[in-house]
Amino acid sequence: MALNISDLSITYPTKDGELLACENISLRVEPGEFVTVIGPSGCGKSTLLHVMGGMLKPTRGAVDLDGVPVTQPDPRKAAFVFQDYSLLPWKTVIENVELGLIFAGVSRRTARQTAAEKLATVGLSEFAGARPRQLSGGMQQRVAVARALAMEPAYLLMDEPFGALDEQTRRSLGADLGQRLTATGQGVVLITHSLEEAIYWADRIVVLSARPGRVLTEIRVAETRPRSLDFMTTPEFAGIRAELFSLIQPSRRVTA
């Protein structure tokens, strides 16, 4: 299932008139591909992701999955992982993971079984009965990933999923989850403002300009997945990092 975005523009109504968040974005994500979207803050990358998942309607252009237009959220096709985890504190970890399945009307037993499998996929089986607040931020985000995976979606739509975590956790969790998701052939669109994350996760990096967000360029990362953390120390990584750095430095426009 390929995700197509064609000629997308999004405007926001604000009190000072219309605000153009993204403009003329076209993008295609192949099945099983990891695509990261990076750009300066306020470039509309998060908005773009919400449109991809049917949470927002574009002002112009369209999103489709193998030709079927995306007009409302369908977690069976594209499931969200939010930056703030959004776990329900009054439910246990496994109840959180099976939530989407329960919403979809799956029987309790099947839902529980699938949830347990996905919890194992993210390495948290032993915490099934815990409450979210008993887990660290990184573990909570794993639960949110398991909740999305339980829907067996074609794509995970991850909105700065590690943004609230400290550097160390962010790196190790990113590496671990990246490897686990690669093993299952999961397609991922990941929004980030971290250069490292954008490179480490990506088969392809989409670089957006400052607002209004436009696709500046796409960069392929040749290194095969799964990648070890050592990939971050290679010349290839350093080269892409330097390129990205110069592309999204806000000061570039000032001095240019």
């Binding site: 409302q72 959220p73 977690p75 959004s86 504190p89 439910k91 919403f103 979809a104 409450r131």
Partner: protein, 261 residues
């Protein structure tokens, strides 16, 4: 009370023991003050009968049948009034929270009902429902209803945006949002409404019995005072204090068990 329980439950063992000791000391100080005042001759036996006289009255009451009959009446009124106030309050709070505009319109009205001195209207309740238990129940339901409805409505209409966004992304139906998201998110507010409502019901049932009734503990107290049996009225008050203490404790246990912390 709930604050003290919450704080001591979280505190480590030593602090908890200290809190408990302080509580007992406070009770002892009051009792000692009472004993000193009446045995020391500072207070007349009419105003403050000595503890041993009150204790003897209490033992007499516990052995007799009137007290238990009165207790049964009061307990029945309490339970019925609380269940009705709880059901009506939660249903009303839920229905009013369904539309944002209605919730906004009703919130101040419920808040006003929350503080309105319904005691002023008690004579009307007696006219409407007679002096039997029905008037106490109706009066207590009206008093208990407002905090429960108010808190339920506020809890259900102020749901964290993140949870609603999650519900949308994972395609929850309206019923699923109500059940899986809203009830869970509003639960602490609903419980706090029930807790306040429970206190209201306790106070108003007994107040109703004192103001005008033909049975119940409040009625017995009123009778004792009217016939100048001051020691008996103190004994009845002591009994009522213990009874409401037990009821509160049971309620706290029930609410605690339902908390998801």
């Amino acid at each position: 009370m709930s604050v003290a329980v919450g704080a001591s439950a979280r505190a480590p063992g030593r602090t908890r023991a200290r809190v408990r000791a302080l509580r007992i000391i406070a009770v002892i100080v009051v009792a000692a003050g009472w004993a000193a005042a009446s045995y020391g001759g500072f207070a007349s036996a009419v105003i403050l009968p000595p503890p041993d006289v009150v204790l003897r009255e209490l033992l007499d009451l516990l052995r007799g049948g009137t007290l238990w009959q009165a207790t049964l009446v009061t307990a029945m009124e309490l339970v019925v009034a609380f269940v009705l106030a709880g059901l009506l309050g939660i249903v009303a709070g839920f229905l009013l929270s369904r539309t944002r505009r209605i919730a906004a319109a009703m919130e101040p009205l419920l808040a006003w009902g929350y503080v309105f001195p319904f005691a002023l209207l008690y004579p009307l309740f007696v006219t409407w429902f007679d002096a039997g238990p029905e008037s106490k129940i109706a009066y207590a339901v009206v008093n208990g209803f407002f905090p429960i409805a108010f808190n339920t409505m506020r809890g259900l209409s102020n749901i964290d945006e993140r949870y609603l966004k999650l519900a949308k992304a994972f395609r929850a139906s309206r019923q699923q949002i109500d059940w899986h998201i809203k009830v869970g998110a509003a639960w602490p507010m609903i419980v706090s409404g029930l807790r306040i409502g429970c206190g209201m019901v306790m106070v108003t049932v007994v107040l109703g019995e004192v103001l005008g009734a033909n049975a119940g503990l409040g009625f017995e107290i009123q009778q004792a005072v009217n016939t100048f049996q001051i020691a008996k009225s103190y004994a009845l008050i002591a009994f009522l204090t213990v009874l409401t203490g037990i009821l509160l404790w049971v309620m706290e246990r029930a609410f605690k068990a339902s908390r998801y912390a």
